[in-house]
Amino acid sequence: MSDPILTVEGVETDIAQYHILKGVDLQVPRGQVTMLLGRNGVGKTTTLRTIMGLWRNKAGRIGFDGRDLNKMPIADRCRAGIGFVPEDMGIFAALTVEENMTLAALSGPLDPARKDWLFATFPPLRTFWKSPAGTLSGGQKQMLSIARAMAEARSLYLIDEPTKGLAPAIVSTMVRALRELKAQGASILMVEQNFAVAKALGDRAVVMDDGRAIWSGAMAELAADPALQERLMGLSMEAH
């Protein structure tokens, strides 16, 4: 694989007394979408949170764009170019949509052209621009969460289950937005349980099991091989 933007080598993470990540190795190629797949509870979310620094890894190395992230504070990881969309959306409910977006623009006021693009991609943001984020519906909150990560161009996005519990129409909006983001040259590492979405967006896939990455390769290869899916994840994508 040529020039990965993110390299995770032998990363181990404990949460309280539980040993969750037991030596994760994975790479995210520059400008591609890498899907992080696997059954529930295998450590996908912990992997993203460890890369972001929200959990500290006790062993292993995380390299991002030539830099060692291990000792880097969480805020600096974001400023270095990593956008994070957590599973729980992570919006600030008491602040307005505008304030949520303004907060995410670290280098100054929100760029008008980018704001227009985000409004075109997620129309409800324009409608509820001055409303408290806590009053939005689940789908609108997810749009805000992703739009906030996109408020400024980042080189890598870590996205945790962006389509979870959303209506099909909103899922289509999300897929379209993420495709546009990829077209702009961003690299994405995304946890996704919806195989149709994973197949539609992913260039590569990494499958995890029991705190380790057990397979990595082209998404198309995994999607085309039901036997491989069955072996890696205990189910077949064809059912979805």
């Binding site: 972001m52 929200l54 504070p73 969480i74 805020a75 974001c78 400023r79 994070f84 957590p86 992570g90 600030f92 409910a93 008491a94 602040l95 304030e99 303004t102 907060l103 995410a104 670290l106 906030r148």
Partner: protein, 350 residues
Amino acid sequence: MIDWLISGDRPRSVALGAVLLGILFSLAFAPFLFPGVRALDTAATILIFIVLVASYDLLLGYSGIVSFAHTMFFGLGAYGVALASIHMGPGWDALIVGALAGALSATVLAYAIGLFSLRVRAIFFAMITLAVASAVAVLVSQLFQLTGGEDGLTYRIPRALTPANRVGELFGVRINGRILAYYLLFFSCTALFLLLLRIVNSPFGRVLQSIRENDFRSEAIGYRVVAYRTAATCLSAAMAALAGSLYAIWLRYVGPDTTLSFEIMIDVLLMVVIGGMGTMYGAVIGATIFVLAQNYLQNLMGAASDATSALPLIPDLINPDRWLLWLGVLFVLSVYFFPTGIVGRLRAGR
């Protein structure tokens, strides 16, 4: 112009706007509307507590930081003016130097506390501030030669601000230095309050609010939480110290009971909760209601007790000696009926 002054932070409720305008008008014309030493003293205390409570709300309501050291910073500002006035003489320079020295020392102390303890959990930070505040209160009592110990310090301020300075008469009220001192307080407190309003409505204020809601999320979108919390602690401490300096100018006396006591800390906490946390206007309403209740509830109960003397039980229940009990009942009721504070309630019912 007004929108610019209040940093675009409108009351967002007609009733709240009317109450705030009423308070502003009453305080602006207090010497003419409510003649008498006690009324003027009450108005001055309200002004000072508005700034003190608003500065505490910057910490508690906007940043989610629980501190018990706020009156310590208030005391530092007051002692700064007292010591400067004693050592430099009763001049304007002493007031300015004392206020600046008080604010600076409060900022430095807040920085030290913040840097060492804002990384720990909120409850430990609260405990550390309590310990530091208690230590400073004991230190002030022990350093008798410098601070006057439990007796405190009395000093002189510029003659222009004393009752001896007679200026003339306006609307039938004799204007003297005391009224000039009141207006010095009024304009200073208004400026400090508007500055606090500007701070909480700035991008810095928004980051503080995001940290209050979820510090990990704020960190994950690129903000160094400890740095922002430390900055908020320092700003809040400096504002409290300036309020303390103004209080010292007004009282011409400082002592541990008037500026450093834990009772004042509890009062400030109550004023924030009653007015509404996370709303600067809550400080205005909370301080006004609390100080008025502290000063006039006893009188009101005395009058009510006399008026109901023919009835059984009631005069005993509302005996003026029980004013603290009823003050407590009032606060319990206000927290029960207005869990988001009076401002929150008024905004919800607009």
